[in-house]
Symmetry: C2
Subunit: 112 residues, 2 copies
């Protein structure tokens, strides 16, 4: 897998536990210990996920406190949003067509 | 890695060649042969990428023609957009704060 930044972001997001960690951090910073609590995963297991998120730039860890809180970095998520927004027209178009199609089906039903 | 659908989508997007294939298909359907042309990759190499995208539901292949054209499926991209949009407030907030901070710095510069 290529090591470009957007690929690293997508790879980091390809795991439900890592996405849940980000959802937790969106509400405020937390220690790895606090992050581990709601999950049925060992502390080393959570640490591994945190490291993947950190390498992808989605988390930064403060050095100011001994418990080194994790904080969400939103910039890579903004890049994901701007990448995917290029396709917006496409899915809106498809849903428009689906609507049209369903409309036609309903019209036909009325006639029969 | 978990096999949930959103994870499969993110994993499929974590490669620049696969994202380039989607960008090509956004302009219209294409055969695997046509998809391979702009890339410095063998046909089996492209086929492998197409299979990953197909398993993630990002591509569907028609059975109507012998050349079996690939077509983009936008629905998983819509799911990515709605997932990432939950974080929009966060990065907008951060940029607002940055703006505020820069504004304050400029004010201070004026005073000195």
């Amino acid at each position: 897998m290529s090591r470009d930044r957007l690929s690293a972001t997508f790879a980091a997001l390809a795991d439900p536990t890592r996405r849940a960690i980000l959802a937790r951090l969106a509400r405020g910073e937390a220690s790895v210990m606090e992050l581990a609590k709601p999950f049925d995963i060992t502390l080393p297991g959570i640490s591994k996920h945190v490291k993947v998120l950190q390498r992808a730039g989605l988390i930064e860890r403060s050095r100011r406190a001994q418990w080194r809180p994790c904080r969400l970095r939103a910039a890579p998520l903004k890049d994901v949003a701007s990448w995917v927004s290029r396709y917006r027209e496409l899915w809106e178009l498809r849903f428009d067509r689906l609507d049209e199609h369903l409309g036609e089906l309903k019209e036909r039903e009325k006639k029969h």
